[in-house]
Symmetry: C2
Subunit: 713 residues, 2 copies
């Protein structure tokens, strides 16, 4: 890519970014948009929808930036949980890393690259068209001693990243323990999930569980709840809830809609019929529900799984850690997730089924990752004008226009890639949910890892390695040549990835303005007329956001040595991201679950992978640049990095898997004589009751009196 | 190899085998050899050395074979522990596998191979020199449909092996649990080892441990013993013990030596001086010992490690399974080994040290495995006469003699290999002991795995793949071509491995006659005159024996398809092995420790590896034989095998790692009201005291009164 194309890309994206920023500054003050831009504050009741309208609300103001910047981390922790803090710490960590890397890259490596004359020696007729390469390592003379500076930079940045990783891991490790120590009693710490309960002599699961835990854990066992297969019940309840929601909405609307909303030249007359319709439907559904539920906890088929609660955290942990049965596939225990975090639909799978599903999902994910290369290869073709012209000869005329060709090479490919990518996270999440995880948090964590591999393979490797899927896989079957192959192909795509980072600015601002919900809401209000007053507070989709950020980090580390020109753009990206996501986490997203920072190990591993990739490419590039000694002396670096990673795994990871006895017992003892614990234990007994079997506290039928669907088990 | 060379080899080995068998039948009846052939019976007191000598004792008799055959497994379990049973089950398992494989191989595959005419078509001038190949798959015509029988055989044998593996794993799994359930209270089940104890404020390790466990496990904690750094003390005590042993021996000899031993024309006069010398030395050593031990448990430097005993098995297991400290590198717990199984010398290494040692040992082991290829390559050259002649031209005259050349190609290489191999197990054991294992059993288990890799690489792969180390490793760097490469080179070495199996007969009979201890004892008695009357009862070196047997199993599975001619020789090997090792386990070896069958997972994994290797070669060979469809249809087989292995890992392996809560609690409850438990707990308090700090119950100095080295801690 030539410098002018890069500048076009930067220009377009900067323009878009600033436009979106202004748009946000204005839109966020409009009362109807409050439920888009501050839904969690609305839901909290912190913010009230005010009808006020003035000139002031049409002027953009940067107040929100200051607010997002100034909020202390503890407030973020309180409002978004540790996961939100960890998410923001990714930006902090990257800002730290790339401040150092940027300083080295821009003030040391870039001048050296530019002053090298490898590319000037050759009589280039079209230097302007290659000019970005002048700032890259390609321009340093082969065998030049100046490459030793690059060599030192590789060691230095590895050291800096490892140091920062360590301190960050330690910080989150302490935060995780602190959150645990300061939290009140929580059901998930007292409860384990038992699966693979063997049923003998036609006794019920309920009795079997009770007998087993009364026999082996009499002193700590508190209660249990058997899981039921309630898919039919669940769908009926969802129907009923939807109908009820619409009904109440329609009714309330007849009183209040005039005050809040204008317009309404359609439908007002039909309202009464609609209400009648809904009421009738709701009655039918309720009838079905009553048939399905014979009463008590007998509803639905018993699944050989149960949530077993204990009287102490340590008792639960001991039962979860020690294999219970002499047959390891029976009485399989694990720590329970938060009650509201449980993913019920796929609950009823057995040990073997879960295992087979896991394998199937693994194969499916790998297949998706590989097959997705086809569209990516097409996008990649766009950066190569000649190829495009050969493919679509009729475009020849248009492509010769300078602006068009620059837009196509500089902007379009990244945009298409970003759009394509937005389809994948839901698929990966579906895959993960089929794997038999019992908690939404675990599903998203697993989907996050899948997405990370997907992103690295389909964005980084697919764009770097040309040719068919088979020929790309071929390279990884010959591990010895990987460094030299990468050293040739990775620098060639520097300009593409600079453009990618720049485009990511825009995608961040799209995140800020929440274009999709905004447009959806607008269409709903003005065209479909279905004004849903309920505020929908979304949760942040970590599984799609984290891999995107980690990819940018990977690009930064990989291109730090090769093309340091990318670093300033990266710094801007992380800075914008820091502000925007802090704002969103405070105003928009409500955490759906709390993993206590379990996403950090993914970030850590990904960073280590990026370092290793950087080092592998360094080995290749020094070989290519005819400095074999440097190439050989880089070899200890990956070994040291892996050892360092192994150390971190031993030092920090266990705490992210389970809490230690010391913490558990300390907490148990603190609460030993707390009278409130009895209240908690009373609640704990029903905490893990499936929502479908839970007593419903709001009126289900239109007579407005509370009808519990079921009495508590 | 030609058939005549094979027959020579079989002849020599059969002759040697029978000779050793006769030798054993005679020698075992000679009273002075009792301590060689029945040391454990002597030590037990079951057998008394009798002076009787008659013609009868010079006649060979097969009584011992009947005895070894007839002893029921329960007796073996009682005398050698579960490890001995597992060891013998390897033979039983292999006999079962190769009975089926042998039937298929000899009655179906062999005739088909022989009736093929691939090799006859070509005008071979020296068919007799290649004749073994006529019985191998090489002789089946390329693309022949008869190869589908081989194809079916591959599926069939995989199924049979998997079925037998499953039932064997299940058998040992139940045996392991049964042994646990029937055993009395044992210190190792009540005790954990804690390492990485943090010491604060200059308090002693002793106090820190006491405080920690009193705080966090007050209801189950019983007592603890801090480990001390006592290497100096230990060496002094060893000196003292040696001196004391010699002294008592010299003294007693002056009374009894005339009765038991003849000869003695030297030294009787010097005896008094020698006794004086020893007494003086012993006094010096004792003086040093007293200086080293200021008294009490304060002796030696405290190591931040301790054995902590609990009041119940479940309490110990809970403490061992749950991470104790918020810093996972501190208070690292694991289940303690048997008290007499502890390996003290390398005890004092810290978390980081152990980790680094582990890495160093890993590198050293891999280096040894690879470097050892040099002598193996030389041996391999011996099977290739031309190569040998080129290397040593002066041998040309000798090598042309038919007998010499047949001995060299048929027998010598295997013999040298076996001799070379005997050096490696001690080295591997040393490596393992440096890795920071705390028990001899764990050291031997780790050495067993190392030896297995060593054996498979240096015997199988090194002999199969020709060329330098680098070129051999090259093959594994290109995984796609492994099957086709192996399919070419493995069948070519069939004759070498048949000879290897045949030579192993002799090595089994050497095991039976215990040549080395026998000769050592003979030299000691007749030349050096140092008659040590103490019976030395050896323990069986599982780490060198198991890999040897597993290699033969691997050869059997790999060559089952290629050259079924090997199978009868294998069956003989396993049958002989079964008889001989049962005899040795009953008469010679005394178990040094009891792992409860933990060696079986190694056998299982090795068998799975053999199956995978067989399948990989099958893929290659069907490709080579121009039957690509069969080659493709074999592909599901390794996948299924791996899935099967994964299932076994989940189903059985956990029990071999730790006992489940169900068993632990059941045992605890049974003994709850047993009055003998108090006696046991009293003993438990000092069970893990280091031998060097233990009160010595025999007199140390010549005054014959008991001097406890130290009062109990």
């Amino acid at each position: 890519m030539i410098v002018s194309a890069l500048l076009t890309s930067v220009g377009i994206n900067l323009g878009l970014f600033l436009f979106f920023l202004l748009l946000y500054s204005v839109l966020r003050k409009q009362p109807p948009n409050l439920k888009i831009y501050s839904p969690r504050l609305l839901a909290d009741g912190t913010l009230r929808p005010e009808g006020g309208f003035g000139i002031d609300s049409l002027l953009p103001s940067p107040g929100w930036v200051r607010a997002a910047w100034a909020v202390p981390e503890d407030d973020l922790l309180a409002s978004g949980g540790l996961d939100a803090v960890v998410f923001v710490r990714i930006f902090v960590f990257c800002l730290k890393v790339f401040s150092v890397a940027g300083a080295i890259g821009i003030f040391i490596l870039l001048p050296i690259n530019y002053l090298g004359d490898q590319l000037r020696d050759i009589d280039f007729s079209d230097i302007p068209n290659k000019s970005i390469d002048l700032f890259s390592i390609s321009n340093v003379k082969d065998g030049s001693n100046r490459l030793w500076i690059h060599f030192s930079a590789a060691y230095l940045i590895t050291g800096v990243v490892c140091y920062l990783l360590y301190s960050e891991y330690k910080f989150i490790y302490h935060k995780r323990l602190a959150v645990f120590h300061t939290s009140g009693p929580q059901p998930q710490h007292f409860t384990i999930l038992v699966r693979g309960i063997p049923i003998q002599n036609r006794s019920s699961v309920n009795d079997t569980v009770h007998r087993f835990f009364m026999e082996y854990h009499p002193s700590t066992y508190l209660s249990h709840i058997v899981v039921h297969r309630t898919s039919k019940l669940r769908s009926l309840i969802t129907d009923a809830e939807n109908l009820y929601g619409r009904l109440t909405h329609l009714k309330s609307r007849s009183h209040t809609s005039e005050n809040l909303h204008r317009g309404g030249f359609l439908g007002s007359g039909r309202k009464v019929d609609v209400v009648g319709d809904y009421a009738k439907k709701l009655e039918n559904v309720e009838e079905n529900l009553r048939i399905e539920q014979p009463g008590g906890s007998q509803a639905g088929e018993e699944v050989p799984a149960a949530f077993v609660s204990f009287k102490s955290r340590y008792g639960a942990a001991a039962a979860a850690h020690i294999q219970q049965s002499i047959n390891p596939t029976l009485w399989v225990t694990e720590q329970a997730p938060e009650p509201h975090d449980i993913y019920w639909p796929f609950f009823s799978t057995s040990f073997m089924q879960r295992w087979i599903f896991k394998l199937v999902v693994l194969v499916a994910s790998v297949a998706l990752i590989i097959v997705f290369l086809l569209p990516v290869t097409f996008v990649q073709g766009l950066t190569n004008l000649e190829q495009l012209e050969a493919l679509f000869p009729f475009l020849k005329g248009i492509l010769t226009t300078a602006v068009v060709s620059q837009v196509i090479t500089g902007y379009l490919p990244s945009l298409i890639l970003l759009l394509l990518l937005s389809v994948v996270p839901p698929i990966m999440k579906l895959f993960s949910s089929m794997q038999g995880f019992i908690a939404n948090s675990e599903i998203e964590k697993s989907a996050c890892t899948k997405m990370l591999w997907f992103t690295i393979w389909n964005i980084f490797f697919a764009n770097v390695l040309t040719g068919s899927v088979a020929s790309q896989l071929q390279i990884f079957l010959d591990p010895k040549n990987i460094p030299s192959v990468l050293a040739v192909v990775v620098p060639a795509q520097a300009s593409f990835f600079i453009a990618y980072v720049v485009t990511s600015w825009t995608s961040l601002s799209v995140e800020l303005t929440r274009l999709v919900p905004l447009i959806g809401d607008w269409i709903g209000r003005h065209c479909l007329r279905c004004t849903d007053d309920g505020v929908h507070v979304p949760s942040i989709p970590y599984h799609s956001e984290i891999p995107r950020i980690l990819l940018v980090e990977l690009l930064g580390l990989v291109y730090f040595l090769l093309a340091p020109l990318i670093l300033p753009f990266l710094l801007v990206f992380f800075f914008i991201g820091y502000i925007i996501y802090r704002n969103q986490l405070l105003n928009v997203y409500l955490p759906k679950y709390e993993t206590g920072g379990k996403f950090w190990p993914i970030v850590h591993n990904s960073t280590i992978f990026s370092l290793l990739l950087m080092q592998a490419i360094a080995i290749g590039i020094f070989g290519l640049k005819k400095l074999p000694l440097a190439s050989g002396l880089i070899l200890p670096l990956p070994v040291l990095t892996l050892l360092y990673n192994e150390y971190c795994r031993k030092r920090f990871l266990p705490i992210f898997v389970a809490y230690p006895a010391e913490s558990l017992i300390k907490k148990d003892r603190e609460e030993q004589n707390d009278p409130e614990m009895n209240v908690f234990f009373n609640k704990l007994v029903t905490a893990y009751l499936e929502p479908a079997l839970m007593p419903v506290s709001r009126p289900l039928n239109t007579n407005d009196h509370t009808t519990p669907l079921l009495s508590s088990a």
